[in-house]
């Protein structure tokens, strides 16, 4: 995926990317990195990933599940789902307005 000239390839905050990934079901750290790279073209570093996971956990937007085969999966909470929904609504509004203005310019 080519890098976006506006953002250098980072379309959203790591927290948004993680919540979007977890919207598809629980995942552990490495699976999150792979999924995010696949759908957003962003390769999150481990420091960034776990910093964001810790913040999201601290705000109760995600929760850690029991360890499965030495790996701990994370799942989105209902609060996280609501937060992501609200964030995406704002993004969709910006996208809609941007497209409309581009079409009329």
């Amino acid at each position: 995926m080519a890098k976006d000239p506006l953002t250098g390839g980072r379309y959203a905050e790591p927290s948004v990317l993680i919540l979007t990934s977890l919207a598809g079901g629980p995942k552990h750290g490495y699976a999150l990195i792979q999924d995010i790279q696949e759908f957003a073209g962003v390769l999150l570093g481990a420091g960034t990933l776990y910093g964001a996971l810790a913040r999201l956990e601290g705000r109760n937007l995600i929760r850690a599940l029991d360890v499965d085969d030495r790996r701990r999966p994370y799942a989105m909470t209902s609060k996280g789902s609501t937060a992501l929904q609200e964030h995406l609504t704002v993004l969709a509004k910006i996208a809609r307005i941007g497209r409309r203005r581009l079409a009329t310019s």
């Binding site: 390769l43 570093g45 481990a46 810790a54 956990e57 360890v67 030495r70 701990r72």
Partner: protein
Amino acid sequence: MKRPGGADRELGWSVRLLLGSYPRWWRLRYDDEMRDTLLALREDGGWRRGGCCDLLRGLVDAWLHPTHFPTEHRMTDRTTRFVPRAAWGLLLFVLAGSAFAKLVEDPPFTAAARQHQALSWWGDALVVCAVATALVMTVATLPSFAALARSRSGCRVRLPAPLVVVPVSALAVSATLLLARQVADGTSVHRPSHVGAFLALALVTALGGIASTLALVRVATQVPEEPSIARSRTAAMVATGVLTGLGAVAVLGWTLTAEAETPHLLHTQNGLLATPTLLTVLIALAGLGGAAVLCGSSAVGALSSRGAAQRSSR
């Protein structure tokens, strides 16, 4: 969650050092996961050259913003969580203050200070702030050391080897370089060998300072917060917040006085290392300002945290 023996070695010493330098509460919760993820990234070829920078950024974030992270894993003591910010602020104060002292040690500056009393006064004010900060920190750490000596609450201080080895090595290298410089004839820093020795000294000093600060924070956060320790920590953070602020004001005053009274002093072409230029003084001033912000914000945080604790106990 134990990995196969020796698997960690594949991560490399720099990654292991960075992971070992995360706060204890972080390592208890995320260390195993991060190691597994990093190993998987390496096996998969997803490890980037900037991976260490990313880990370093996460490390600084975890130390500076513990309040952003899950409460059940971070330090529970009320004022202890502001210790890392104050400690890094103090390190910045020491480095920037030393840099400023190095910049103004040349004869033209000492002569200017003799001629213009205000320059001398501002310089003395910075020294007084530095000495008072050192005294405050010494007094403030006594209750913690007493608690450690008594080993109350099953307190066990564990320091990773690098945090002890690095400061000692840094001191040894500094001593060797100083000796080498003494043996070499001449004292002019314009000689390439002396410039190299100076830069190496600055580097090992910075590394030693970073390792010592990490060790200080590690010890401070492992000491249980008894009332006397909490009081001394808060008092020390307030005092250092005020003193580092005054230190920054002293250097600002020195700079403005030098510009007003002897403008030629700061507009020389003698090089960045031997004689200060306005730019180098401003860099030192920015460092002192940053130290004042870090120490000041930790003081405000500690005070408001104690205020909230007292209100909730009523």
